[in-house]
Symmetry: C2
Subunit: 310 residues, 2 copies
Amino acid sequence: MAEEQLLTSWRDAPAKQAIVAFVRRVVGEDGTAAVPVEDRVAVFDNDGTLWCEKPMPIQLDFVIRRLAEMAAATPELRDQQPWKAVSANDLAWFGTLMTDHYAGDDTRVRELLRGILAAYDGISVEEFEQRSNSFIRGTRHPSLGRSYVECAYAPMVELLDYLGANGFTTYIVSGGGRDFMRPISRDMYGIPRERVIGSSSTFTYTSDGHHGTITHQPAADYVDDGPEKPVRIWNRTGRRPILAGGNSNGDVAMLEFTQHPDTPTLRLLVLHDDADREFAYTSGAEQALVRADKDDWTVASMKDDWTTVF
Amino acid sequence: MAEEQLLTSWRDAPAKQAIVAFVRRVVGEDGTAAVPVEDRVAVFDNDGTLWCEKPMPIQLDFVIRRLAEMAAATPELRDQQPWKAVSANDLAWFGTLMTDHYAGDDTRVRELLRGILAAYDGISVEEFEQRSNSFIRGTRHPSLGRSYVECAYAPMVELLDYLGANGFTTYIVSGGGRDFMRPISRDMYGIPRERVIGSSSTFTYTSDGHHGTITHQPAADYVDDGPEKPVRIWNRTGRRPILAGGNSNGDVAMLEFTQHPDTPTLRLLVLHDDADREFAYTSGAEQALVRADKDDWTVASMKDDWTTVF
């Protein structure tokens, strides 16, 4: 019993067949030796892989609202980016920022990062958690007619459950903020907060002779994207995964790292090709798609492989 | 059934009584509401808390042997620290280094750190793991008549088991190297590698079009000691622990952080007062002992509370 009935939103098509064949092999149902449970590590990108990232990453909406508050409170900020774009309601400034990034120009990424870091400077980790939690649960997606907390892809949540039922330990490995996702990761994905890996600012601990406080500092610790993803996976788990799921160029290193000389592996790429039910785009996934074709990664088409998206 | 029979090496004295009363309260056996399983996070320092750290931290022996290899291969190194001390067999240079550190002078700590970082520059994480694993399993403690892999304190291993049996998730939070402890943490403590937190050098990921490699870089990522311990616990777990165990000044911040407004907590300090069976010292634990007395932390005397040490 490999619990395939959990994959109800997956059509009986090549992607599902590859997933099921892989899991059967891992648990030894195909007659080969089972992979030890402790080695069954599966890692998933978040934005665009587990939940929707269009028209903009959900965390960017969170940040823009905070930047707007800051610009309202401190008018001088409106002369500099990213507060200038927020004040002018210039969403294109944000919308094309990742296009620049993928083209190798990180000027605006750095300006945005500076804004994000300033936005939470000095906030305690508990207060950040409250803000993130209220935002994700209390804000509606601009076009999908649902709250952000309902924007997880149902087939991917089923896949996480299916892997868990087969002895896998699942991790989120997000380019977005680790602490942004933690308050909702269990409710949305069944993944506990200690298994969320993601970008982080630096923190400082201040003793008070009582319980102490950890606060955000205005400097990035690391950005968990591209070649940093395998490093962060190693730091957290001490293992190479045997399954990785992603959807963009920032996931290529993580998927490449998911390789063993003598253990089966699965690399899964979510393809956004469903303009009716979600969005259709390959911008930012060009290298990932080339690699998927070359190395025989499994591609999951939202349109063809999923009976439902949400 | 709170599994108290697991604590066979603990005398029926105040430390054991405090531990048992705390765990009974956490699981709700005293009639109060149980603490949710996901909040039962327990963190333990490693050197001097879970295994022996005298006459020198075990990882220091590992490093010194590597530095000696380097000095033999590259004679110029013998003119600079820490290779100079190693070549002159000047163990006092290392032995008094932490005394300087606790007195606020980190000159030699920095020199040693530079040596450690150079010692593993460019080594893959897999190769480092092999070296560490062979060393800990294959090297004998200089005076205790046992291999390093047998230098864990039996009462503390029992405590880890007892906590696990009561729904706790246990973590090692070591000032020493995370990747140094990982290959033996399950065999020695029953703690899987993903629950080892410790100091780390920075890593870089190199793509090779196949499986990629993570290698050590000659720069520290962070040193997991003092106020950095709560930060690293937060980064890994996203929670405040409810139990912390330590033995030195470097653990004070972590023990202080183990405090909740409405959840029971236990702070445990291992006191090295048993020159016959292990070692007797309070150097490096002065502030911790003051704080234990002031804040009513539980002190475990190796001499009075433990029937066996190893």
